[in-house]
Every structure is written in structure tokens, then in C-alpha cells.
């Protein structure tokens, strides 16, 4: 069932238990259907798609090595959410305009919606799920709670991953710098004031 190409149930509504490796591989093969569905939300359907090209990709996510068979079109965002059930990373615009999908690849913050996973074979990826250590929140996670730096929370994983990148870049010295260097993360609730305060707190303690 799970690797039947015409059946989209598993990829549309991921199962809740952790899948086995062979299931992951199988779901990698079925991904083109999921990828097609998700891109259809933003764009008209592609016409004349040839049969999907499947490639093997190995990358490390939050310290765990994953070997997967993936459609070449699979973004790291879809890989995380659809294949590894790491749904903390959010799909907002899927066009690099909102920052909700921000993750760290080899330590640098990037928009995971604009990455083909196959290009990052061998990379180290850190997502919001990988920030806390042994039950202790990352200082930025704690700072976001301390400062109530969110309302709906949808942009929060991207905001926090982006702020981790910002602090490690070491370029932000002033509140204006933080605002400017965080401008790739939109918050439709408008929690910017508290987000700024949270990041400033984490920077002081970094």
C-alpha cells in the first residue's frame, strides 16, 4: 500500500509512528505525488511531467544519518516534513519569501523550501527539533518563552533557527542590526517587538 504510486494517503497524511528505514525508502519513491500536490497549492499543475527521477541521498539531520531514495524535485523542507516526520519546520510561502522553513545547513541559516535535497548529499542539517539538549531548551527557545515572542507560533521555528544563525554569524551589534538581519522571517501576528527582545536576551547570554 505504502509504495503504490497512485495512493497518496500516506504522503498526504503522514502516519504518526516513526517509520522504518525501508518504509522511508518506499515513501521516498512515492514522494513525487506529495510534491506534486503541495506545489499545486501555489502553482498551476505541471503539464507533461516525465516519469520521476529517483536518486539516493544521505544526509545528517539533528545528528542522525538518513539514507533515502528521493525524487530529484524533493526540497529539504519536504524531506523533513514528508519523509522524516520532522514537522517543526513549517511550510509558509514555499517561495523563499517568509522564512518559516528556515533551517541550518552546515551551520548556515537557509530557506529549506529553495533547496533540492539531492544537492546537499552529505550535509549536516539542524532543525528546530535539534536545538534542545537533554531536556533543556536552547537559550533562544527559552528566550522566546520568556518574552512571549509569538502569537500563533507558525513562524516561530523559522524565527528561532534564523536567530541561531544570526548569533553564530556574530554580525548583529544593535537592535537595528537584529531587525535588519532577521528581516527574512515574517510574522503575520506582528510579534516583532517581543521577538527582538528575545533575540537580544539570547545574544547577551551567548
Amino acid at each position: 500500500m505504502i509504495n503504490t504510486p497512485v495512493d497518496t494517503k500516506d504522503t498526504e497524511f503522514p502516519i504518526s509512528r516513526q517509520p522504518t528505514h525501508s518504509e522511508l525508502v518506499a515513501r521516498g519513491v512515492t514522494l513525487p505525488i506529495a510534491a506534486g500536490l503541495s506545489s499545486r497549492a501555489a502553482a498551476p499543475p505541471s503539464i507533461g511531467s516525465a516519469s520521476p527521477e529517483v536518486v539516493s541521498v544521505s544526509l545528517t539531520v539533528n545528528g542522525t544519518l538518513h539514507a533515502l531514495m528521493l525524487d530529484t524535485r524533493t526540497t529539504i523542507l519536504d524531506l523533513l516534513r514528508e519523509h522524516l516526520d520532522l514537522t517543526g519546520t513549517k511550510k509558509g510561502c514555499d517561495q523563499g519569501q517568509c522564512g518559516a522553513c528556515t533551517v541550518l545547513i552546515d551551520g548556515r541559516r537557509v530557506n529549506s523550501c529553495l533547496t533540492f535535497a539531492v544537492m546537499y548529499d552529505g550535509a549536516q542539517i539542524t532543525t528546530i527539533e535539534g536545538l534542545a539538549t537533554k531536556g533543556t531548551l536552547h537559550p533562544l527557545q527559552q528566550a522566546f518563552i520568556d518574552h512571549d515572542a509569538f502569537q500563533c507560533g507558525y513562524c516561530t521555528p523559522g524565527q528561532i533557527c534564523s536567530a541561531v544563525g544570526l548569533i553564530s554569524e556574530g554580525r548583529a551589534k544593535t537592535a537595528d542590526d537584529i531587525r535588519e538581519l532577521m528581516s527574512g522571517n515574517l510574522c503575520r501576528c506582528g510579534a516583532y517587538g517581543n521577538i527582538l527582545a528575545a533575540i537580544a536576551q539570547a545574544m547577551r547570554r551567548a
Binding site: P44, E53, T72, Q95, G96, G99, N111, G184
Partner: protein, 338 residues
């Protein structure tokens, strides 16, 4: 997005071999524009050639005192490179004025030159667009054209080039190094991008089967009297309505050499030798700057929603030249314009 074959090149020769004779193949580096366009079905490559492993990631001094920037140097790495910050601050500022840090962390130097326009009709495959589908018509000329060109447009296209980095590179007289199976060549920056004319589907003079290998900066960086002033609809992370890159060489109050390039107003970064000639040998004050602005905008043409850009450009040019002359470049962080 249509399905595509993925190929990975490890050297320039391999990349050129992969692209040879395949009109539906595309190089990919940062992917920040290409993947977006592929999702929208605007770009439909059947083969994507990953060039991110090519050895084009260095920033090196040239024997002549300039700087050679590998095509794969990422935008943040370039903006934060000590030699760029010290000697070409206008380039560092222009890079930091564009996109977001996440995108700058991905985007390559060569890819920045090859960005497609952000005209909404180009992105919307349900509407006519001569750039996307030659001969189908231009939806912007009679449509929503607030962001569009006021200089150098044609009856076929009034799209603008979206890059900030390229505006500074144009002002600096950069050169583009290009490789191909039939040999390498060097293209002056002014000749790299083209005007739309009746073939707006072509953004640049790069030919099929060619690859950008480096961008070279000449020694002169205008590190004392420069600015990058960008006006946009919000303070960050938006494309320019108008931007101006300025470099001045002053002798007291007299302009020995003055250069400026405009962004957001044309199909390419806009330089005008006639306007710059107005600056030469003249006192560095507002009246001189206004004359130069008048010359560069002499043929400016507005459409239904963007006529305001003509006056905005005039004011931006005067303001930017003033900032450069005073040695007070526009801050890309605190956005107050002084």
C-alpha cells in the same frame, strides 16, 4: 514542477560537457531564483546540472591590483570578505541591501547576475508575457506596472532587473569572466545585461553553452566617497523601486571622477556616460547633482502606475551623490536617510 534529471559536475569542463547541446538543461548553484521559477512552471528544465562543487569559491587579488571573485562565492561571504568591506564597501552595502540573510547565504555571485525579473506577469503563466513566452504580448504595459521600468523599455517588455549587487558592479566597471567549450572570454559589465528590444526573453549576452566563472573588480573601489541608496516599499527584504550606487573621486570640492548606476528602473543596471560627464570637473554640490540627474532621466517614460519613479529617481540621485560627497554612506542597518 516537471521532473528533471540531476547531474553533478566537479569541474568547469564537466559542467560544460553536461550542458553541451541540451537546450533544456540549466545550471544550478544557490537555486534561490531557479527553484522558485521551477515551482511556478516558468522554468521547465529537463536536466539540472549542479555546479556547487566547482572550484570557483575563492576571492583573490589580481596581479593588476583588483579582485577576482569566483562565480560560486556566496553573497554573504562576498559582502563580509575583508577586502570587499575595506576596498569596495559599495559592493558590500549593495549585497546587504538585497534579499534576506537566508537567501544571501545560498545565492552565488554568478547566479546573482542571472536573476530573472520579478515582474508578476513573468511569474504568472496564465498571463501573456513576451519574456516568458515570446510573441504572447506584454501584460505589464497596460496592466499593473508600478514596479516597472522607466528607462530603456520597449513595446515588448518593461521589466526591471532585480539585483542590487549588479548595480554596484556596474558602477565599479566589473568584468564578467565566462567559460565555454570554444574558449574563455571576458565581458564588460555594461555589456553583460541587455535591453529588452523585441527579444526580451534574453536577459544577457551570455550564450548557450557558456558559464560564468568569475567576476573581476578593477583596482578602483571608491572606498572613501560612495553610497548605496535603495528606496523600497518596506525597510528591508523588498525589491528596489529605485536604487543608486555612487562612487566619487574628489579633489577638494571638485569632482575628479563621478560614477553612478541606477537599479529598479530598467532591464539592466543603468549607467549613462553623458550624465557622468556632467559631474566631471564640477563642484560637488546639489546643483551639479541635479543636472546629472536631469541628463540620465532625459528619456525617462512613466506608465500608468510608475510615473512617480521618475521624480523619485531624480531625488535619489541627488541624495545619493550628496551622501557620497559628504562621506556619509547610507547605513544598510539603521535605515534613516540622511
Amino acid at each position: 514542477m516537471i521532473s528533471f534529471h540531476y547531474a553533478r559536475a566537479s569541474c568547469v569542463g564537466e559542467a560544460l560537457q553536461e550542458v553541451a547541446g541540451d537546450a533544456n538543461a540549466k545550471f544550478i548553484a544557490g537555486g534561490t531564483n531557479l527553484i522558485d521559477l521551477m515551482k511556478m512552471d516558468v522554468e521547465r528544465p529537463t536536466k539540472v546540472i549542479d555546479i556547487t562543487r566547482l572550484p570557483l569559491k575563492r576571492v583573490e587579488r589580481t596581479p593588476g591590483g583588483g579582485l577576482r571573485i569566483g562565480a560560486l562565492v556566496r553573497n554573504t561571504d562576498l559582502a563580509y570578505h575583508p577586502l570587499v568591506e575595506q576596498r569596495y564597501p559599495v559592493l558590500a552595502d549593495a549585497i546587504m541591501a538585497g534579499a534576506s540573510q537566508q537567501l544571501r547565504n545560498m545565492a552565488s555571485t554568478g547566479g546573482n547576475l542571472l536573476q530573472r525579473t520579478r515582474c508578476a506577469y513573468f511569474y504568472d503563466i496564465a498571463t501573456p508575457c513576451n519574456k516568458r513566452e515570446p510573441g504572447s504580448g506584454c501584460s505589464a504595459i497596460e496592466g499593473q506596472n508600478r514596479m516597472h521600468a522607466i528607462l530603456g523599455g520597449s513595446e515588448a517588455c518593461i521589466a526591471t532587473h532585480p539585483s542590487d549587487m549588479c548595480v554596484a558592479l556596474a558602477m565599479l566597471d566589473a568584468k564578467v569572466h565566462v567559460g565555454s567549450a570554444s574558449g574563455d572570454r571576458v565581458i564588460a559589465f555594461a555589456d553583460f545585461h541587455r535591453l529588452p528590444g523585441d527579444t526580451p526573453q534574453r536577459d544577457t549576452h551570455l550564450n548557450a553553452g557558456e558559464i560564468i566563472t568569475a567576476v573581476e573588480l578593477p583596482p578602483k573601489g571608491f572606498a572613501t566617497n560612495y553610497t548605496y541608496l535603495k528606496i523600497r516599499d518596506r525597510l528591508s527584504y523588498a525589491f528596489a523601486l529605485v536604487s543608486v550606487a555612487v562612487g566619487l573621486e574628489l579633489d577638494g570640492d571638485t569632482i575628479k571622477e563621478g560614477r553612478f548606476a541606477l537599479g529598479g528602473v530598467a532591464h539592466k543596471p543603468w549607467r549613462d556616460p553623458q550624465a557622468e560627464a556632467v559631474l566631471r570637473g564640477q563642484p560637488a554640490h546639489a546643483a551639479t547633482f541635479a543636472r546629472a540627474a536631469g541628463v540620465v532621466l532625459r528619456d525617462a517614460r512613466g506608465y500608468a502606475h510608475n510615473t512617480f519613479k521618475i521624480d523619485l529617481a531624480r531625488r535619489c540621485i541627488v541624495r545619493a551623490l550628496t551622501q557620497a560627497a559628504c562621506g556619509t554612506p547610507q547605513s544598510q542597518s539603521a535605515k534613516k536617510i540622511v
